[in-house]
């Protein structure tokens, strides 16, 4: 099993971001995804800053992947993606079909991110012909769904033409909107948001009126209220999953990556996972937990 750090979904100041990647470079992570994948107004890290961090991590032996934005509306945003794709050094994770189209036309290999709707082997077949090397399964899908999909891929003769990655830790990216919910929570419009999401390094918690954590507001993105954690489900990933993704929330995510690896290698008893969920993997409501 390989272990990957997903792109930071929150908006952090430049220094915090760079400090995080210093820790990441010293960690045992095999793959590091990076870049702004949520909102184009978040510009604390510019293109060249990302490339500098990427080079540093690559020099430490990490595979670096640049993640593209999921919801692209403006021509200026497409130009940013074009620049990302034309970086000339690093692989790109496409989180929208627009990026797939640009990569396909340039005959560049790519990774299909979790924000692209791929639900079956026939879709994987189309994408692998277009250059897909790795597929990150949509977060709402289960082990059962994955297993059937890969069986179909086997029957199509394409099972070995791509790697499979599963989002396994962190608040789940559940939805994208035109509306900025963080700005709304401060009675601001998106146009006058003052990128206030930088004040919420872990987003804003949304609870039901009787106190149950439901969601986390992260700009135009809505995340799950609870953390997803498949640390104790790794045995059921055997022969299905090549790469496990941890979505960063800070230093503890890097520590947790090491725990994932230990838990998998040593097969020790269950790691304590209070206040986390794993329902999607078990084909029940995402918010639920199955032992």
């Amino acid at each position: 099993m390989k272990y990957a750090l997903g792109p930071i979904l929150y908006y952090w100041p430049k220094q915090k971001t760079e400090e995080f990647y210093q820790l990441a470079s010293a960690s045992s992570a095999d793959i590091v995804y990076m870049g702004e994948s949520v909102c184009s107004k978040r510009r604390a890290m510019r293109h060249n800053d990302w490339i500098a961090v990427a080079r540093d991590l690559a020099s430490k032996g990490k595979q670096v992947v640049l993640s593209s934005m999921a919801l692209l509306e403006a021509p200026s945003e497409l130009r940013n993606i074009e620049k990302l794709i034309d970086n000339g050094e690093f692989l790109v994770e496409a989180n929208d079909v627009s990026a797939i189209e640009m990569l396909r036309q340039r005959k560049l290999p790519f990774i299909v991110g979790p924000a692209v709707n791929v639900y079956n082997a026939d879709a994987l077949n189309v994408l692998q012909r277009q250059g897909m090397q790795r597929w990150v399964m949509p977060v709402e899908l289960s082990r059962d769904w994955l297993s059937k999909t890969l069986q179909d891929a086997q029957d199509l003769g394409i099972r070995d033409s791509f790697e499979v990655e599963v989002f396994a830790y962190g608040h789940l990216p559940l939805a994208y909107s035109a509306r900025c919910f963080t700005a709304r929570s401060e009675n601001k419009t998106k146009d006058e948001c003052e990128t206030c999401c930088i004040n919420y390094p872990h987003g804003r918690q949304v609870n039901s009126q009787d106190g149950q954590p439901l969601f986390v507001l992260n700009g135009i993105q809505t995340l799950s209220g609870e953390k997803y954690d498949l640390i104790n489900d790794q045995a059921s990933m055997r022969d299905l999953v090549d790469i496990v993704r941890l979505s960063p929330s800070g230093e503890e995510s890097i520590e947790h990556l090491e725990s994932f690896r230990r838990r998998n290698q040593e097969g020790q008893s269950n790691y304590p996972t209070p206040d986390t969920v794993n329902g999607y993997w078990h084909q029940i409501a995402g918010i639920h937990h199955s032992d």
Binding site: L71, L72, E73, A74, P75, E77, L78, I81, D96, V97, S98, A99, I100, E101, M102, R104, A115, N117, Y119, N120, A121, D122, A123, V126, L127, Q130, P138, E140, W145, K148, D152, L172, L174, A175, Y176, S177, A178, R179, C180, R184, S185, T189, K190, D191, Q205, V206, N207, S208, Q209, D210, Q212, L214, F215, T222, S224, Y280, Q283, A285, G286, I287
Partner: protein, 332 residues
């Protein structure tokens, strides 16, 4: 501009035609379509009847096959496409790359519209579906501002565009929202339903009437408050001690006032949402939109939304309110 109306049943389809629809869209009675609700939609026999009725009147019929094919069962989706092609359906509305590829390979002459569930929000995404699968029309998601709608239409002159004109307001990029499966295990992409009715409970609690979805509290109402269906993005939630509609109020999309701008942007069709609604709803909305479109084309420069249209629509809108949604920048 074409007026495209929803029908969840044969009576609704007849009503739509009688009320002035140019075209109607329907779905099959299974999970191949994103309005998979009990008692709704068309079996093969009804579909053939519908196609005949529509053809006789010189109108068009589209079939929504707009969920994502399940592994091990993709044949069900392909069968739906075959059924459309065999029965003279004018266009299929598709979201899944696998189903789009099937259409292109097996029914190259069948007109294919890209469903809103495919979430094509920019010119390059449109190019992907046009270049790879020969899609001839794209239904634009409700996340774009009117300025962005015009921009896309301008940059893709060989593509037809359809926009949502009226109905339930999805505030997330369609096809990219898993809130429903997070709370219930069922989502639009996987089972064709959002906040499914089988999970809804109404309970009288000490603090008022409560709506719950899979036991999770979505909203709580004071005695004199209007209640609404607990679509999970329209509940009142607690953000750091403030209880409010954290995502969106219960309200419907209504773009009557944008007709001139949409027409000038060469939008091919305006779509009414609501295959799950009654024939009475279909009648009201279709009549108002027919009048508005006719009024506009008769004299574009003097087009104005009338109070009567608004009153008629308000009576059937969610929370009796309407909004321009993301088309209007301020909403975002």
């Amino acid at each position: 501009m074409e007026l495209l109306c929803p029908a969840g049943s044969l009576p609704a389809l007849k009503t739509a035609l009688k009320s002035g629809a140019d075209s109607v869209y329907i779905g099959l009675k299974d999970d191949t379509n994103a309005r998979h609700f009990a008692g709704l939609n068309f079996n093969d026999k009804r579909l053939i009847q519908a196609a005949e009725l529509v053809r006789k009147q010189g109108k068009k019929l589209n079939l929504a096959i707009n969920t994502f094919a399940h592994p091990g069962d993709a044949k069900q989706w392909y069968k739906a496409v075959d059924c459309a092609a065999a029965n003279g359906i004018d266009a299929v509305i598709v979201a899944d790359i696998a189903v789009l590829d099937y259409c292109a390979q097996h029914h190259p002459d069948l007109e294919v519209h890209l469903s809103v569930q495919a979430s094509a929000t920019n010119a390059q995404a449109v190019a992907y579906y046009q270049n790879n699968f020969g899609v001839s029309r794209v239904v634009l998601p409700r996340v774009l501002s009117i300025h962005q709608v015009k921009q896309i239409a301008r940059s893709c002159p060989t593509m037809e565009f359809e926009v949502f004109a009226y109905g339930s307001l999805c505030i997330m990029a369609e096809g990219r929202c898993y809130l429903s499966s997070y709370l219930t295990g069922e989502s639009p992409n996987t089972v064709g339903a959002c906040s499914p009715a089988s999970f809804v409970r109404w309970e009288e609690g000490p603090e008022g009437l409560e709506s719950r979805l899979n036991k999770i509290l979505i909203d709580r109402y004071a005695p004199n408050e209007t209640t609404g269906y607990p679509t999970l993005c329209k509940g009142r939630f607690d953000v750091d001690g403030q209880v409010y509609h954290a995502l969106e109020e219960p309200t419907s999309l209504n773009t009557l006032e944008l007709i001139p701008e949409l027409a000038e942007a060469n939008i091919a069709a305006v779509k009414i949402e609501g295959r799950q609604r009654s024939p009475a709803y279909v009648q009201q909305v279709t009549q108002v939109w027919r009048q508005a479109l006719d009024r506009y084309s008769a004299d574009p420069s003097r087009y104005q939304v009338t109070d009567q249209w608004m009153a008629q629509l308000a009576s059937i809108s969610e929370g009796s309110q309407t909004t321009l949604g993301a088309y209007h920048k301020q909403w975002q």
